[in-house]
Symmetry: C2
Subunit: 202 residues, 2 copies
DNA sequence: AGATATACGGAACTGCCAGTCTCGTAAACT
DNA sequence: AGTTTACGAGACTGGCAGTTCCGTATATCT
């Protein structure tokens, strides 16, 4: 196995060292004061090595903060009620880590300020999330729990927005039972209402 | 009527000129590129006059963007369903103007980065909003539409979060019928479910 | 082996912007 | 008259993202 590119290959450990440095700094000082110089210093790396790998601080932090296990499909629990709780738990786990929580608002702003291709980074998440949502809703329709599939963007906004508002707008404490469990009953009611549950008139 | 303070009094027109300049710039170039120098130049004012009135850019923009009519209590429509739509319309009108829409994410970040007293600025809105929400829910209980009052933070997160997510996370287009109307049925279902509507079992 | 291309850490440098300060001047008070 | 605060204009500071250059290391190609 040889390298088919010219020149010195990229050092392997750097990606992981940077990822660790970013997560530490996010947790310690938040997104704004997690400067690129601080990241480079903590990772024992030059800034050039960072910008060789990522286009901007926002992309760098985004890459360090995203973990693929947040993309796993929620299990089929057998009921719409359980599936809604599962989707909410996924959303919560994606937004509620100590690093993501500190990074998200600033990241939202910086990614938007950049060119379209970069802004699409965050959309990958949303597209996946929406696909799971469609799957969950369609399962419920097939089970006969819902008479029809509600409008997906509306449901998506309610689920994602509720978690985001709790954490970043209202800044309520996360309840001991978990945020997903606190929000699930209400949002199940919303979906049941929209989808026309049999025993839910109109 | 004389001035009980010493020295030259503040010029009257400046507050309004700054407010107008900020709103124009927010609409034209967004929050990040709406710089303090640009605001001062457009308003025909020195930067010192700005910082004599507000502590930071974030406070300045916040003051320029908030309009008191967004704080009016929603009318009693006679039904929970109608009141929910009213609260949603209020939230939408507070978040969906061309200026607020451009300013909100950046403002969220900058206000948080400042000292606690400044961060409380935004909370004034939330406190008012929550009071309206409590009023709406209690009215529904008194009418007999709800068996009990749902947990207010949960309802608050669902209503505010849904609007915010639609506008700033999902960035869906605002439907022709209005965002409030699109979200109201689902969120009414959520509240009805949580509050134990008579004909909504468990 | 030698040439070439890319990588590395370190550090200097550019450009932008929030926030402060200074200057000369104006408008109110005592 | 003297004091105090306001004004516009513009210089200045400090912090940070992103770029460039240096000397050096490590790979492929001829």
């Amino acid at each position: 196995m040889t390298n088919n590119r010219r020149g010195r290959p990229r050092e392997q450990g750097i990606d992981e060292a940077v990822r660790a440095a970013v997560n530490e700094l996010l947790e310690e000082v938040g997104y704004q004061r997690c400067t690129v110089d601080a990241i480079a210093a903590r990772a024992g790396v030059g800034k050039a090595a960072l910008y060789r790998r990522w286009k901007s601080k926002a992309e760098l932090v985004f890459a360090a903060v995203v973990h693929d296990d947040a993309l796993a499909a929620p299990p089929d629990t057998g009921t719409l009620r359980g599936d809604v709780a599962g989707v909410l738990a996924d959303i919560q786990s994606a937004l509620d880590g100590p690093q993501v929580r500190n990074a998200l608002p600033g990241l939202l702003v910086d990614l938007r300020a950049e060119d379209a291709p970069t802004a699409r980074l965050g959309e990958l998440f949303l597209v996946r999330e929406r696909a799971y949502l469609v799957e969950v809703l369609d399962r419920a329709v097939n089970r006969g729990e819902l008479l029809r599939r509600p409008e997906v963007p509306v449901v998506h906004a309610m689920l994602l927005g509720s978690v985001f508002a709790w954490l970043h707008l209202l800044r309520e404490a996360v309840p001991s039972g978990g945020l997903a469990e606190a929000l699930a009953p209400g949002l199940y009611g919303a979906i049941a209402g929209l989808g026309g549950v049999a025993h839910f008139p109109t």
